[in-house]
């Protein structure tokens, strides 16, 4: 913060700041100089048991304190019964799951008085009983709840690669079905390519390395079609020197400079 790097905005995991304390004081300093985006990972919007009133209240308190320009969570679930499995577990793309997540998104949006952005997660499996594609699921969720979409380009690439699909086709499908208006933020991140016990190749979304060329290409394709959007470099494991993050952000900025960049505040109104 002493050097005030030329960064347009910062994004933090909301849950890390729900208890205040020393971390909260650090965030106060960042929020003094930069717009903030709150990216939740614990609302568990896809849980059949609903969302935690306590968690929603804590998010509302944070929103009141920091007036974030964007607020987001994922199309996934973590909570079942009284147990929270801290990962973005996959939802089946079914009518029932759509009803559940739409009701949960409505509840959160009503409570915080703001629009949520829903992020497409990386998935490693899909469900045999899926009724629809991820793109159709996202589009219908937007239609029902007026939420926005946080388009994670790396997740599209990771999911498609792991499921043996064409990432560019999946991206085109999402852009076409969801529509450019709903997409209000983009995430970029690195991932790891590893081998499983049987020797199969798998891409793991770990946010711990530079963004790969394939993901940059998908990103350029996306913004060429929908225009520039507030774009975040997610890097939260194996965290490098800050300069490396700045380089990745500059790379994204260079790609975005072809058009007028809308500030994230434009996504505020619900």
């Amino acid at each position: 913060m002493r050097e005030r790097p030329a960064i347009a905005w910062f994004e933090v995991h909301a849950e890390n700041f729900m208890r205040g304390g020393l971390l909260g004081e650090d965030l106060d300093r960042i929020a003094t100089f930069y717009p903030l985006s709150l990216h939740a990972v614990g609302l568990s919007l896809g849980s059949a048991g609903g969302v935690s009133a306590e968690h929603v209240a804590a998010l509302k308190t944070l929103c009141g304190r920091y007036a974030p320009v964007l607020i987001s969570d994922h199309v996934s679930w973590s909570q079942v019964g009284d147990t929270h499995w801290p990962d973005l577990l996959p939802l089946p793309y079914t009518e029932e799951a759509l009803d559940v997540i739409a009701a949960n998104v409505d509840r959160v949006q009503d409570a915080i008085g703001r629009r949520l952005l829903l992020e497409n997660p990386s998935v490693y499996v899909t469900f045999a009983d899926d009724d629809m594609t991820e793109a159709a699921f996202l589009a219908e969720l937007v239609r029902r709840t007026d939420c926005g979409v946080l388009l994670d380009v790396n997740n599209i690439f990771v999911s498609a690669s792991n499921l043996g699909r064409d990432a560019a086709a999946d991206l085109r499908d999402i852009l076409r079905q969801v529509g450019p208006q709903a997409i209000q933020e983009i995430h970029l991140a690195g991932h790891t390519v590893s081998r499983t016990r049987s020797g199969a190749r798998i891409r793991v979304d770990d946010h711990g390395s530079r963004i790969c060329e394939d993901v940059w290409n998908l990103f350029c394709g996306a913004i060429a079609e929908i225009g520039p959007r507030p774009t975040l470099i997610e890097w939260d494991t194996n965290i490098p020197e800050f300069g490396v993050l700045i380089e990745e952000a500059a790379h994204a900025d260079a790609a975005l400079r072809g058009a007028q960049v809308e500030p994230p505040a434009n996504a505020l109104a619900r």
Partner: protein, 265 residues
């Protein structure tokens, strides 16, 4: 028995979302096989895809525990800590999406775990790590806790104040780990009851030893007793040490005697 719903077009029974999520979570927890026909994957077998989710869960839990138990990590090493974290995750999984709630039972888990019996002080180190983390991350703007002394005066205690009872010199171990691990050799590893008060001040997390009377007094107050009841508890536990309470409590930096209704300075 799982509830089933029927799909409109093929009448093939499928799990409800609630049951599917329960089954999925159970498969993560127990390594149990997931019915293959219910999941699809790409080139990687379904079971190995589930391994990714399982590893993510274990990694998140272990990371949360490591952040709040840094001395334990240093003592046992990251690899062994990871195995402890995995077993704790499945023994006592998180209850909420705020993982800073998580780990209150980790010290007791370590005390029970046979693998750590060669390190009898480890559970106390975990208790100390945990409480320092909690106090350090306590909400800074909470009003002090107030206890009526008489009609005009009250005792105010820092809202972040926590008490700790240890058998082993966990604070010396933590200090040695932070400054110079060679100092570990010089620590007298003798089990003796030690009581500490921990609070957060403007300059950071503070910790001081407490005498038995002061500990009993504060413990009773924090457990809901009146000042009079707390004082009786102190006399009951350590009558010879009641005189220390003036310095250890009433004049301590975490406490303040004020007039009732007086604004805090």
């Amino acid at each position: 028995m799982p509830r089933c719903v029927e799909r409109k077009w093929n009448l093939r029974p499928m799990l409800s979302l609630a049951d599917l999520q329960m089954r999925f979570a159970e498969a993560l927890r127990t390594d149990s096989a997931w019915p293959r026909r219910m999941l699809r994957a790409g080139p990687c077998p379904v079971e190995e895809c589930l391994d990714i989710y399982r590893a993510n869960v274990i990694g998140a839990v272990t990371n949360a525990l490591a952040l709040s138990h840094p001395t334990v990590v240093r003592l046992v090493g990251e690899s062994f800590f990871g195995r402890l974290g995995r077993d704790y995750a499945f023994d006592a999984p998180p209850r909420s999406g705020c993982l800073w709630h998580y780990g209150d039972g980790f010290a007791d888990f370590l005390a029970r775990d046979a693998r750590t019996h060669a390190l009898p002080y480890l559970a106390d180190v975990a208790r100390l790590d945990r409480i320092l983390d909690r106090v350090g991350n306590a909400a800074p703007s909470e009003p002090p806790r107030r206890f009526v002394l008489d009609a005009r005066t009250q005792l105010e205690l820092e809202s972040s104040l926590q008490l700790l009872e240890l058998e082993w010199p966990a604070d010396e171990i933590r200090a040695a780990i932070e400054r110079d691990e060679d100092l570990l050799e010089q620590i007298d590893l003798k089990p003796v009851r030690r009581t500490r008060v921990v609070w957060r001040s403007a300059s950071g997390v503070m910790m001081r030893p407490l005498g038995d009377a002061s500990y009993a007094f504060l413990r009773a107050l924090l457990d809901g007793a009146s000042v009079e009841e707390a004082f009786l508890a102190a006399i009951d536990h350590a009558p010879q040490a009641v005189g220390d309470m003036d310095q250890e409590v009433l004049r301590a930096p975490y406490a303040r005697v004020s007039l009732i209704g007086e604004a805090a300075s």
